[in-house]
């Protein structure tokens, strides 16, 4: 059967469990979603939700415990060392903390040189230097930064170097794991605008991970929200914010800090956040959210709900909607 989808990445029933002394950490527990060519797919969640683990598994840092990852029709569900070399050019990642994603003992030139050398993108030394200068210009950093060390530049600039490094190999799919969480608002705006521009210019597809819903609203075309390793809801962005169905989505939306009254009016009124986030080692039985859920029913503590499609492209995993 030939599926005529435009999906660059599909994740099917992905599981990633970590086996530790305290028990099994079900970091990612049966996730399925797909990303279309050229779109920005947003993944939202708090700590313990597993969103970063999803990214790391897709990029190959972890081996999936179960499930499939399909990239442009090919099954790539392995660790990066087992993946074909050319694939590593196409899927890149920019990490959350710019402080640790750049080697403190290497200068910017050496950091940017690595992907170019590994994939033989530049033919000789001069070509390499030219390409590095081009990359720096692209992220609006002065060329003189080439010989600086990461400790000499600010957090925002470090992140720009990390993004330049990710784009050095001309990838098609870029995972952005909270790229601006550690940064100030004004720097964040600059980087996000830059990322949006690159997406158009280089036809990139993004998997954008963040806990900041206001940011997500302006960046993603579709949003998925995760809690304790499972996806609770997936919807197109405007639908997600206008009509949040899952109680956790409503709780998260009601907790964010906004800066204007119009935004305040958009926030769900009735649900206030309570309780602590349980650790992924002790996942409650039934629906993992039932201990904090204000709309809990009896069935919630016994059975785990399945994803159902409530309206076009809007799917929820909640007993309130499985009728």
């Amino acid at each position: 059967m030939i599926t005529l989808t435009n999906n660059i990445l599909t994740v099917e029933q992905l599981k990633k469990y970590f086996f530790t002394y305290q028990g099994i950490v079900k970091a990612v527990d049966r996730i399925s979603f797909s990303v279309e060519e050229g779109e920005t797919f947003g993944l939202v969640g708090e700590s313990g939700s597993g969103k970063s683990t999803v990214a790391y598994t897709v990029v190959g840092m972890y081996r999936p415990t179960e499930g499939k990852i399909v990239y442009r029709g090919k099954d790539i569900s392995q660790e990066s060392k087992k993946r074909p070399h050319t694939l590593k050019k196409e899927i890149q990642i920019a990490f959350q903390d710019p402080g640790t994603s750049l080697n403190p003992a290497m200068n910017i030139k050496q950091i940017l040189e690595l992907p170019l050398k590994v994939h033989n993108i530049s033919k000789n030394h001069k070509d390499c230097i030219d390409k590095i200068k081009e990359l720096l210009k692209m992220v609006q950093l002065p060329v003189s930064y080439m010989y600086k060390y990461p400790s000499m530049i600010g957090g925002g600039e470090k992140q720009m170097v990390a993004i330049a490094r990710a784009l050095a190999t001309n990838p098609s799919f870029v995972l952005l794991d909270e790229p601006t969480s550690a940064l100030d608002v004004s720097v964040q705006a600059k980087i996000i605008n830059m990322l949006i521009r690159f997406q158009k210019e280089f036809s990139l597809s993004y998997l954008f991970i963040t806990h900041d819903l206001s940011l997500m609203r302006n960046v993603a075309s579709r949003v998925a929200i995760m809690y304790l390793g499972k996806i609770c809801e997936i919807a197109p962005t405007s639908e997600f914010f206008k009509n949040p169905l899952h109680p956790y989505t409503q709780m998260l939306l009601s907790s964010i800090s906004v800066i204007s009254d119009e935004e305040e009016a958009l926030k769900p009124r009735k649900i206030i956040s309570t309780g602590e986030i349980p650790s992924p080692v002790n996942v409650p039985p039934g629906c993992s959210f039932h201990l904090r859920c204000p709309k809990k029913m009896d069935i919630c503590s016994q059975e785990d709900p399945v994803m159902v499609e409530v309206s076009k492209e809007h799917t929820v995993r909640c007993h309130l909607y499985t009728k």
């Binding site: 708090e46 700590s47 600010g154 957090g155 925002g156 600039e157 100030d184 608002v185 004004s186 720097v187 964040q188 705006a189 600059k190 996000i192 605008n193 806990h211 900041d212 819903l213 206001s214 940011l215 609203r217 302006n218 960046v219 962005t237 405007s238 914010f241 709780m251 998260l252 009601s254 907790s255 964010i256 800090s257 906004v258 800066i259 204007s260 119009e262 935004e263 958009l266 926030k267 956040s273 309570t274 602590e276 986030i277």
Partner: protein
């Protein structure tokens, strides 16, 4: 810049410099800041603007060899903290001002139980010659844990900080700050290292406690959203001095300083509409800060006078002042 006589805390023209290998970092460049009794004041500024340095200067926590304070006064209830002796200073730290730090994990000692640390705080606060009984101390500790809505306080007392979640650790830090009757509570980015839902709970807790006890609170944040529902008045800080102060609602509705406007424009909104452009340039180097207004290299409306003189506060409205020459006709 007094709205009412007898402010609780008044910082006048504070300068703080740091001596380093490359020279002298002129971080704080004439900070003016007031807090009235019972008032909740917000302080917003991006990383590196000097907010934590200012707060540490109030508590006299700055390491004095690299730090130099060439000018300025910090008046608490009329007396200059910078000139106080050790005894009076300790008195103030015990009973009158306390601070909640940004990272609750780093603020708690990992090798002592919460109970030990909290009871130490109680003991230091009450120490006025009275021989406080162990039982009394424990009761007070449990009482204060209940005030911060920690479930099962007896169990929490026996736990080590590592066994608690981030939100619970932050609540413990808040309870330690509340132990003595405080006049002023300084909260340095209290929810920043926590998850969104937990951060919301902590901010609501602080608001409740502030209202109940009538304590003055200084709430520091680098994000505008966090201070919005929580404060009466708001200061905006840039590169070592205050650039704008107003009632919170006024500042959000009508930001006047180009920096405040830039910040608001750059903050992503839930209503959509894309993200603003951000502010060109970066925070200036304190080794060689720009002359005149420190924001002028990044300001679209910079005028020749901005490069020469540092703008003082101009009173645009009752309770709304801006440090910008665009408004020099207002005073």
């Amino acid at each position: 810049m007094n709205f009412m006589p007898n402010p609780l805390l008044e910082i006048k023209d504070l300068h703080v410099w740091f001596k380093v290998f490359e020279g002298i970092l002129k971080v704080l460049d004439g900070v003016n800041f007031t807090v009235q009794p019972g008032e909740k004041v917000g302080l917003v500024g991006e990383m590196g603007c000097g907010k934590t340095t200012t707060m540490k200067a109030i508590m006299r926590l700055l390491p004095m060899p690299p730090a130099i304070i060439p000018k300025g006064e910090i008046l608490f209830k009329g007396k200059d903290i910078l000139k106080m002796g050790q005894v009076k200073l300790r008195q103030i730290r015990k009973k009158e001002i306390s601070m909640i730090f940004q990272d609750p994990t780093a603020a708690l000692n990992p090798v002592f139980t919460v109970g030990t640390q909290l009871q130490d705080a109680v003991r230091f606060a009450e120490k006025s010659g009275k021989n406080t009984e162990k039982e009394d101390i424990r009761t007070r500790a449990i009482q204060v844990l209940k005030e911060v809505s920690l479930p099962d306080p007896e169990r929490v007392l026996q736990n080590y900080p590592i066994q608690l979640s981030g939100g619970m650790r932050q609540r413990v830090c808040i309870s330690m700050a509340l132990v003595s009757t405080n006049e002023l509570l300084i909260a340095d980015e209290p929810g920043t290292s926590l998850d969104v839902t937990i951060k919301d709970q902590i901010l609501r807790l602080l608001k409740e406690l502030g209202e109940k006890r009538d304590t003055s609170i200084i709430l520091i944040s680098h994000a505008l959203g966090a201070v919005r529902g929580m404060t009466d008045r708001l200061y905006v800080m840039y590169a070592g001095s205050m650039v704008e102060v107003a009632k919170t609602k006024d500042l959000f509705a009508h930001p006047l300083h180009p920096y405040s406007q830039g910040l608001l424009a750059a903050t992503p909104r839930l209503t959509g509409g894309g993200i603003g452009e951000g502010i060109d340039g970066r925070i200036p180097e304190y080794i060689n800060p720009p002359k005149g207004c420190r924001f002028h290299p990044r300001c679209k409306d910079a005028m020749p006078v901005c490069k020469d003189k540092k703008p003082p506060f101009f009173k645009v409205d009752e309770n709304h002042e801006v440090a910008c020459f665009l408004f020099q006709n207002c005073r």
